[in-house]
Symmetry: C2
Subunit: 315 residues, 2 copies
């Protein structure tokens, strides 16, 4: 443990542990935790760097929320329930106000999903936030990227393009319209509900095209997606049809789930989704032929720079 300054103590005081499975939280050489008596652990880590993953000038409350949300979204995509977070915070200087704001945003989302901050460190350097998150999933129930088979439907939760659309709104100073970017709402409940229903799942963090491609690669299959079926966020639609679709396909930061469902489980999906705030959309189908085929009103679209221009000309 090597803390350049003792901001981690300030963070820990602002974010007290409340879970019964936390035996020893921040302040020792390591955290001490009771594992669940059954089931498996799910672990992920993500680093968010100022100027790379979020723009300079973002409110520390939003940074705190977003950096936890990115990790929660990974656990949602596994169908896991979150439990313990570790935080490694690199700051250009010891700034109590900044840390207090960060703790408010982080804490608001952490409390919503019963996540305890169990440890971490702070160092001096360019602004960067690394969150490690551990959660639980019943044995053999986790959703993975592998498992999509030809004929399975391709689905998404909520709307896409809201991350990129929200960032564009934030740059224009429209904070209200920027909510999807500033305060993404990880799909923990939906991920849990998809256990036993989805054959594969991923969270949409880098844009639908790239993330669905990861599923196809791990599943050894292809897919066709009908672009007119992709639900666009209002902030993305506002940018125009072409730019809006581009935000959904390539924008990233949506933190929705993209998942595949065998025909025989569609009824179960729709029943489960009756409880969801936003209905899931079927946007395509897994194919035996490899690769991701995008169609707009039955016509194939190429996402490459030339292809996209072609698409623009037709759009």
């Amino acid at each position: 443990v090597s803390t350049e300054f003792d901001l981690i103590a300030r963070l820990a005081a602002a974010l007290p542990c409340s879970r019964k499975d936390v035996v020893l939280g921040p302040g020792d050489d390591a955290a001490l935790l009771k594992p669940p008596r059954t089931g498996q652990l799910v672990q992920t880590v993500d680093t968010c760097i100022e100027g790379v993953h979020f723009p300079p000038g973002l409110d520390p409350e939003d940074i705190g929320w977003r950096c936890l949300a990115v990790n929660l979204s990974d656990l949602a995509a596994m169908g896991a329930e979150p439990a313990w977070a570790l935080l490694s915070l690199t700051l250009p200087r010891a700034d109590d106000d900044w840390v207090d704001g960060f703790a408010r945003g982080f804490g608001e989302l952490a409390r919503r999903w019963d996540v305890d901050l169990v440890g971490g460190d702070t160092t001096r350097g360019p602004l960067s936030v690394t969150v490690t998150l551990t959660g639980f999933v019943p044995k053999d129930a986790a959703l993975t990227r592998a498992g999509a088979k030809p004929g399975h439907g391709v689905w998404v939760t909520g709307t896409l393009g809201g991350g990129a659309g929200g960032l564009a709104a934030w740059r224009r100073g429209d904070r209200a319209a920027a909510a999807a970017f500033l305060r993404p709402d990880p799909r923990i409940e939906e991920g849990r509900a998809l256990r036993g229903i989805a054959s594969a799942a991923i969270d949409v963090s880098d844009g639908l095209a790239a993330d669905l491609a990861h599923v196809l690669e791990r599943s050894g299959a292809g897919a066709v997606v009908q672009l007119e079926a992709v639900p666009l966020a209002a902030t993305a639609r506002r940018e125009g049809a072409d730019a809006g679709l581009r935000m959904a396909l390539q924008g990233g930061d949506d933190y929705q789930l993209c998942f595949t469902v065998p025909r025989g489980r569609e009824k179960a999906l729709l029943k489960a989704a009756a409880e969801w705030e936003m209905k899931p959309s079927r946007i395509g189908e897994i194919t035996k032929a490899p690769g991701l085929r995008l169609e707009l009103l039955g016509r194939e679209i190429d996402l490459g720079p030339g292809g996209w221009d072609h698409f623009r000309g037709d759009g």
Copy 2:
């Protein structure tokens, strides 16, 4: 999951998983792990930044080893056995040779302690390495910083000052003498052996004075340390008596264990230590009076700048 470039896949390929409790390693939204059937989990995270925690120009193999060692040392101080690592790597540019070197150093130490790299991400930015490590400890057997009581002996493993002495040697181009800095040897075995013997423990990462002070704070006690009993590393001794002691007390990067032992457990300690490569040293005693008192040949020494000068004058 947001990877700027796909170096994490290269790292994962170089560091294949071999533990039976790893259900799903790198390559999905999160890792999937089997917790131990009994006992507790121990988790820690540490970030090492170039120019802060290690000097620019350090060999990537040494960076890989060191960054894992820092975390292993935290688990050693808890008496835990390490299991799963997550790695978040920030690099100025995608550099395959650098990553291969890093993987060699990281992998060499990981294999020694049966640690699997189960996930991570890579991003573009100033060189920085964050390792999260999870390990196991039997229920209620973990060593913590609390528990030191008046009359307990204060002990250290190995020698101190080797981290700072090794860094000084490295700066002079003497790689052989720099080993303690470049390739610290975390005291995992010793930490495990201290379960049921030590009343408190910490790893010496920031210098004996600061780290022992953490134990005193968490234990609500004080201590007196006889400086002539503090075992100095050869590289620290070479810097002269004063500078060597200063390296031990304030230099950091030693990754030895400092621990306290009740009188009634000293026999058990010496029996356990008969197996150790280096014998532990009793350097002082816990006191009821708060604060850390340093004595040299019975005379009190003040570590403050003035006090240290006084000490220098007498040394």
